[in-house]
């Protein structure tokens, strides 16, 4: 049992930190532009696919370097030539634009790369077991995933709070007009932030592609979880996104690891039902079955009781 718990924690960390890489970019974009980028997971998928192609020529590490840059450039282009135009029509239009963009990117990926699963592998350098615990291996690649996500969180935090660029960005979030009056090019900053956010999603895609399978549905599978996370954490709050990512990652991981559910609960309560009971499906429900739904449940509860999210203070 102990081993399951330890590994569940490790797995939860890996998932949570991966989710955070996406959520951090998303929350940056949201803080600036006030719009949830529904195509964010699609940039994550693009990252994986581009890295797959690039790594075919210059290896995994080249892909890790180049793919996020390409994805970021693409993101900046989308902001410059698409989103900026739609911005004047209001938030709903922006949201719907990114919604359509997600749809289009999925189609484009299938157009260029086809629909089958891609053979995108982890680099040989990391192809060993980092440690073995109770007969289970924890691969070095997963360790690498944790390290890189933590590194990005630290770097982001330092840049945003300590550097001049970070201060300008923070100022443009709260006082765009003042910043513009000070001579900064606010639309340009917006574009850069959007590019940087999508590049972060690209990084997540590059490192997730080999372990979570590179296929056209990978954005959909990641699904709305990322948006859920930024809302739970509080829109626009980086620490909130961090906490919510870990919370969701661990929650799902523990739920899958738990071998409990309604049968155990009912037994504990001393209640029993016939198999023919109309609600039999409910009485036999197990925690792992509902693991993927838990974040949504959490979201609804958070929104009902604290509409601003865990760490947020902005009402929309």
């Amino acid at each position: 049992m102990n081993e399951v718990f330890i590994f569940a924690t490790l797995n939860g960390l890996v998932t949570g930190l991966l989710l955070f890489m996406l959520a951090s970019g998303l929350t940056l974009i949201f803080s600036m532009m006030g719009v949830l980028n529904f195509a964010h997971a699609s940039f994550y998928m693009l990252g994986a696919y581009i890295a797959y192609t690039v790594s075919g020529y210059i290896g995994f590490w080249g892909g890790l370097l180049i793919a996020p840059l390409l994805v970021g450039a693409l993101g900046a282009g989308v902001e410059r030539y698409g989103l900026r135009r739609v911005h004047s029509y209001g938030h709903v239009a922006e949201l719907i634009f990114t919604f359509g963009l997600a749809f289009l990117i999925e189609e484009l990926v299938q157009f260029f790369w086809g629909r089958d699963t891609k053979n995108y592998q982890t680099p040989e350098l990391l192809d060993f077991a980092l440690f073995t615990l109770f007969g289970q291996e924890f691969s070095a690649y997963r360790g690498f995933m944790i390290a890189i996500s933590l590194g990005i969180f630290a770097a982001l935090y330092v840049v945003l709070t300590r550097s001049r660029v970070g201060i300008i960005i923070q100022a443009s979030i709260s006082h765009p007009h003042t910043v513009a009056n000070l001579g900064h090019n606010v639309p340009f900053i917006f574009m850069c932030v959007f590019g940087a956010g999508t590049a972060l999603a690209g990084v997540a895609g590059v490192i997730a592609g080999p372990v979570l399978t590179t296929f056209p549905g990978m954005a959909v599978v990641l699904g709305s979880i990322v948006y859920i996370i930024v809302v739970i954490g509080g829109l626009g709050s980086l620490p909130g996104a961090f906490i919510a990512s870990l919370l969701v990652g661990l929650l799902q991981s523990y739920a899958i690891a738990a071998d409990a559910g309604m049968p155990e609960l009912l037994e504990w309560l001393g209640v029993s039902f016939e198999r023919s009971h109309p609600l039999n499906d409910l009485w036999t429900l197990k925690l792992p079955q509902i693991a993927p739904v838990l974040p949504y449940l959490l979201l609804i509860l958070v929104l009902i009781f604290k509409p601003t999210g865990l760490m947020g203070n902005r009402e929309e």
């Binding site: 081993e3 399951v4 590994f7 569940a8 797995n11 939860g12 890996v14 998932t15 299938q110 086809g114 629909r115 089958d116 699963t117 891609k118 053979n119 077991a129 073995t132 109770f134 007969g135 289970q136 291996e137 691969s139 690649y141 997963r142 372990v211 979570l212 399978t213 296929f215 056209p216 549905g217 990978m218 959909v220 599978v221 990641l222 699904g223 979880i225 799902q252 991981s253 899958i256 690891a257 071998d259 197990k286 792992p288 079955q289 693991a291 993927p292």
Partner: protein, 421 residues
């Protein structure tokens, strides 16, 4: 890869789809015999559908059209119907098929779709006598289609899930090293059929094998299988059994391999469409598959020629679903025998048909439940002794175990209602 514009524009020009009101074409001796192929051709599941369409169109040309056609010189034309693997879209495409006078429909992917089509056809045929439609199911394996829900208008050319499990559990039972198994599957009807029957059959055949896990995960939404694999590893299972397909299959197998566990994985759908290439060396001698076709070694020259010609025409595709070729050949044989393309005549001629396929396998269409009785094979992924590999990866499926057709037949509970003519 595409059903190109030429083919697809034809119905638009000739039938002018929306307003093709009263024109019922009179069958001409030279009119092509038109068969519908209904499977996902766009969307996430399209790769399986397009590879099936490719194979069927190739088989039609290779076996019949290039040799002067059937029924005294009529060509066969395949009309693709894209159902996007959705039951709702299936209903819409079915209406299109009726509109275009397509009376024989090939359909395979997803049991939910096959069930919907079966019900729709049964209702349609009852309400529109004289315009019946026939369902040629080449891949949906839900047992109920030839049991509780069997229909005169449905023929299955794949072996159903329990037939396959019967053979798979025999094979596992023979392996004395296996003392415990872990069952994991997608949380839907097929996953449940696999789990329930594996437990039942293993209990009968090898009561000493312990079922150390029986896990369902949501279909198509699991990002990372590692948490599940953690449970599998800590259960100490000697083998894993799964009915997963598509991305769920690849991700699960990858996670198992990454965890360092070296137990064999028994599967239904873990090959082709990028899966074999992705698993590659890691899947060697570990991935085992139960299916209806011996991919290697090739048993007959006819089959070898067929495969080679196909590979020459479509270098990026494999002969993944030879059942489809069986179905086509048996349907054509039934047409020749009855000298008719009417679904009722074809159905009657198909019943009790015995047929030797291009691989030399003996097939029998059991008339009582319209289930094809055919040999079954268990193969493993390897790169040794492979003549036809998968995904051009060098790795392919090599037959390890074979059960003759008679030994795969199971009892059925079908009470077929036959239409009166």
């Amino acid at each position: 890869m595409l059903h190109s514009f030429s083919r697809s524009l034809r119905p638009l020009l000739t039938a002018s789809l929306l307003a093709s009101a009263a024109l019922t074409p009179v069958a001409n001796a030279q009119d092509p015999v038109r068969l519908g192929f209904m499977d996902p051709l766009s969307g996430t599941f399209a790769s399986v559908g397009t590879s099936g369409l490719n194979l069927l169109e190739f088989a039609v040309d290779y076996l019949y059209n290039s040799k002067g056609g059937i029924l005294g010189g009529r060509m066969i034309e395949i009309v693709p119907l894209d159902n996007k693997q959705s039951p709702t879209e299936t209903q819409l495409q079915f209406r299109r098929a009726v509109s275009e006078e397509l009376r024989i429909l090939f359909q395979g992917n997803s049991s939910a779709v096959a069930n919907t089509l079966n019900q729709t056809i049964t209702r349609h045929n009852r309400r529109n006598p004289g315009q019946e439609v026939l369902q040629i199911n080449y891949a949906a394996v839900d047992p109920i289609l030839t049991n509780e829900e069997c229909s005169f208008w449905h023929f299955r050319f794949d072996a159903h899930a329990v037939m396959k499990l019967e053979v798979l559990t025999d094979f596992i039972a023979m392996n004395e090293d296996i003392k415990s198994v872990y069952i994991i599957g997608q949380d839907y009807s097929f996953g449940q059929v696999v789990a329930d029957n594996t437990i039942r059959l293993l209990n009968e055949k090898r009561p000493d094998i312990e079922i150390v896990g029986n896990e369902f995960h949501p279909i198509g939404t699991v990002k990372d299988f590692t948490p599940y694999v953690t449970k599998i590893v800590s259960s100490g299972a000697d083998a894993v059994i799964t009915g997963n397909f598509g991305a769920d299959m690849v991700s699960l197998a990858r996670s198992i391999i990454d965890s360092g566990m070296d137990a064999p994985i028994y599967t239904f759908y873990a090959a082709y469409d990028g899966i074999t290439a992705t698993l590659g060396e890691d899947g060697k001698d570990r991935i085992r598959l139960i299916h209806t076709d011996s991919a290697n070694p090739i048993a007959s020259k006819t089959r070898r020629d067929f495969n080679h010609t196909y590979k020459d025409a479509h270098p990026n595709f494999d002969v993944t679903q030879s059942r489809l070729v069986n179905a086509l050949m048996m349907v054509v044989t039934a047409m020749e025998k009855s000298q008719s393309t009417d679904p009722y005549d074809v159905a009657v001629a198909l019943e009790d048909m015995r047929f030797t396929n291009i691989g030399g396998d003996e097939l029998w269409m059991r008339p009582d439940d319209h289930q094809l009785i055919q040999p079954l094979y268990i193969s493993k992924q390897t790169d040794e002794g492979i003549e036809f590999d998968a995904d051009n990866s060098g790795y392919g499926l090599l037959t390890e175990y074979e059960v003759t057709a008679d030994d795969t037949a199971l009892e059925h509970s079908c009470r077929m209602r036959r239409p009166r003519r």
